[in-house]
């Protein structure tokens, strides 16, 4: 059913091998429980070995120069394994704004550090819950001499427990702007996150020194948010696919009433329905990423992908628990790690309800 190029399939397979070897699910579980840490230097290693950190960064800055389609494919693997590396937070969400703003002079040192895997970035747009696209309400940037300073706050920042720099949206006298702020100039508070495999924070900025990536940047901001929704959707579909496999595997193994439970039509239909939804949503996610790679306007495609992938991921993770019965409801079983990831990403970068509204607006209604 896949329409991926061979090259992309090969990349995806290499990443899958690496993640399966480095982050098997029981290891992810122990990390989520705080019983183990992510191996020190693992991200740098992944950056250098597989070029993951700089996947979409142009070669001139030390990256791989791959397309957003490739990035989507790699994110699927991260979604599948829940690997606790900053692939979505830094290599996707933290990197894409530099590409969209296309301001080589400013971006060069950042992109080089990102590609080398020696620094990570995080995207900080959201200020309050339930706003999509994120509106800038209380973050203001003021020019002071050669530089700018920002005062305000952001929340629900995916920063993997602390990024090296934050990409922050703020209002300026010339409309919304996009800035880079050093971690040292930010006060960061960990939030209690439902998703145990990915940290989130709230940050506050108090006259924080800021480097502008783009001013009067409404268009770029919209693009960044559409891309963010698309990339999160890619990760979601990887998770949903893993869950489909998990439920089918269990349905083929568990015996009740002297029968394999997958032989009960109720269970068979739960699995088949999930397959139907997963395949459709996968198409939507890959299509959106490919259109983005072609430079098309992805307003509609991004919402389509985010709706389809959020819904199938939430549904599939619940169905999976149901197929497992009691064992699926326990802490020790990995099912809830995916359930938590699904509920979390459902809300981030636009809920399905918000994207439905955005869709209709985009369609002219």
């Amino acid at each position: 059913m896949s329409v991926m190029t061979e090259e992309r399939e090969a990349l995806k397979a290499a990443v899958a091998d690496y993640l399966d070897a480095t982050f098997p699910i029981d290891k992810v579980h122990r990390i989520a429980n705080g019983k183990e840490d992510v191996p020190a230097g693992e991200w740098t290693k992944a950056a250098q070995g597989l070029g993951l950190a700089g996947l979409v960064i142009p070669e001139e800055f030390g990256g791989q120069g791959a397309s957003l389609g490739e990035l989507g494919a790699v994110l699927q693997e991260f979604g599948r394994t829940l690997a606790p590396l900053p692939m979505l937070s830094s290599a996707a969400l933290g990197t894409v704004p530099f590409l969209v703003c296309d301001n080589a002079n400013v971006s060069k040192p950042y992109l080089e550090a990102l590609a080398a895997g020696t620094a990570t970035a995080a995207l900080a747009l959201s200020e309050a819950a339930n706003q999509w696209p994120a509106t800038i309400n209380n973050t203001t940037a003021t020019p002071s001499g050669d530089t700018w300073s920002i005062t305000g706050s952001k929340s629900f920042v995916l920063d993997n427990g602390g990024a090296d720099f934050y990409i922050v949206s703020a209002s300026t006298p010339q409309g919304p702007g996009i800035f880079v702020v050093d971690a040292a100039d930010v006060q960061r508070t960990d939030l209690n996150a439902m998703d145990l495999t990915r940290k989130q924070s709230a940050i506050s900025l108090n006259n924080a020194k800021a480097t502008p990536l783009a001013i009067n940047a409404q268009e770029q901001l919209t693009k960044i948010q559409n891309l963010a929704a698309t990339l999160v959707a890619s990760e979601q579909i990887g998770g949903a696919d893993a869950i489909l496999k998990m439920m089918v595997e269990y349905a083929k193994m568990r015996v009740q009433f002297g029968r394999i439970i997958g032989s009960f039509q109720a269970i068979k239909h739960m699995c088949a329905n999930t397959l139907v939804e997963v395949e459709q949503a996968r198409g939507a996610a890959e299509d959106a990423a490919d259109r983005a790679a072609e430079g098309e306007d992805i307003t509609l495609s991004a919402s389509l992908a985010k709706i389809a992938c959020s819904e199938v991921f939430s549904d599939a993770t619940l169905t999976n628990i149901r197929v497992h019965g009691g064992i699926g409801y326990t802490w020790e079983h990995p099912a809830h790690l995916y359930f938590r990831r699904a509920r979390s990403t459902n809300a981030l970068f636009g809920t399905p309800a918000q994207h439905r509204e955005a869709l209709l607006v985009g369609l002219g209604y």
Partner: protein, 415 residues
Amino acid sequence: MTTAIETPANLEEFRLKVRDWFSSNATREDAEASGESSEVEEGETEDFLVVARKFQNTLYDAGLSGLSWPKEYGGQGLTMNHQQVFNEEASGYVLPSTPFMVTLGMCAPTILQYGTEEQRKRHIGPMLRGDEIWCQLFSEPGAGSDVAGLTTKAVQDGDEWVINGQKVWTSGAHYASFGLIVTRTNPDVPKHKGITMFIVDMKAPGVTVRPLRQMSGASGFNEVFFDNVRVPATALVGVVDQGWTAAIGTLMNERVSIGAGGGGLGRGTGTVQFDRLAELATSTGAITDPVTRNELATIWVKERTLAILGDRMRASLKSGNAPGPEGSIAKLAGSELGSRVADMAMDLLAESGQAWNNDDEESLRWATNVLASPGGAIAGGTPEIMRNILGERSLGLPKEPQLDRDMPFKEIRTN
């Protein structure tokens, strides 16, 4: 006819008594600081248990526990209309009775129906008074939906039975003083025909309770191991090898109890879930949004419908009918309502339902609720099993082929 237990006048008098009792002995829901995270989660902390016991004690001492239960066993011998009045008056108050749900909703009715006179006299009073908490030792690692596939063995030894095996998902086993256990006593006959039920003292030598953690992080259920646990012959409930009948009785009561509240526990008639959601929607501002209003109204309808169904089920129970397969309607509707409520809260909270500050108890409560909701669907029988029961037993549709039904138990395929 003897003196009427129920007349309009004594019902009214009873109402005033209940009202009075609640106003001086119970906490109003709106006065409660943050509430418990969810029904499934309640009853886990020591504190909660102390509060629940004390509540049940006072309720009993005021003559308000076991309203429709027979007087000779410590009940009040009143009617279902009294229970209904009680429920109406309880509306809006916190009823910390969750730890008694298994005891009063499932175990006590089973003892009443299948137990010996001695067992009824010995246990039902203390159960109604909250002094004895019981647990249900049915599910095993290999026998959940197919609980009749259980392998925990009981072997007779003189005046005693010796139990060996393992149970799992046992809610409240860590604080229960007794358990109702189903065991295999004859593996040479078909599975339903070699099961026997006993009362087991949870403090008996050889009983080991190990807490299990749920996906929400709480530990409400356990695995329980039986290693040569001896129970006296007087602990037998019903007839040797015919325990499946009693087990079905417990399960039917369980479904009514989970879905609609039963066992004379009393349950507020208000729309608790709707109220909480409406409050949340008001605080987020979404209350003016037509989509939110539509869903909120749907939840009110479903919650009220379930409450009405519950009242009617309890009423017909009292008229002497053992709960039938229709209890599965309440169980199904109840768990579907539960996940719908959880989903709506998550929609209303959006990002703040999945990440929150330390001081944000509202988000924590709803997040815990969504993480507990899958358990509500599985506990007491999965939705698939509920639908099978309704299809086959209520509607008389042909049964699924059951390869193992008439085979001797020991020849059946297992995990």
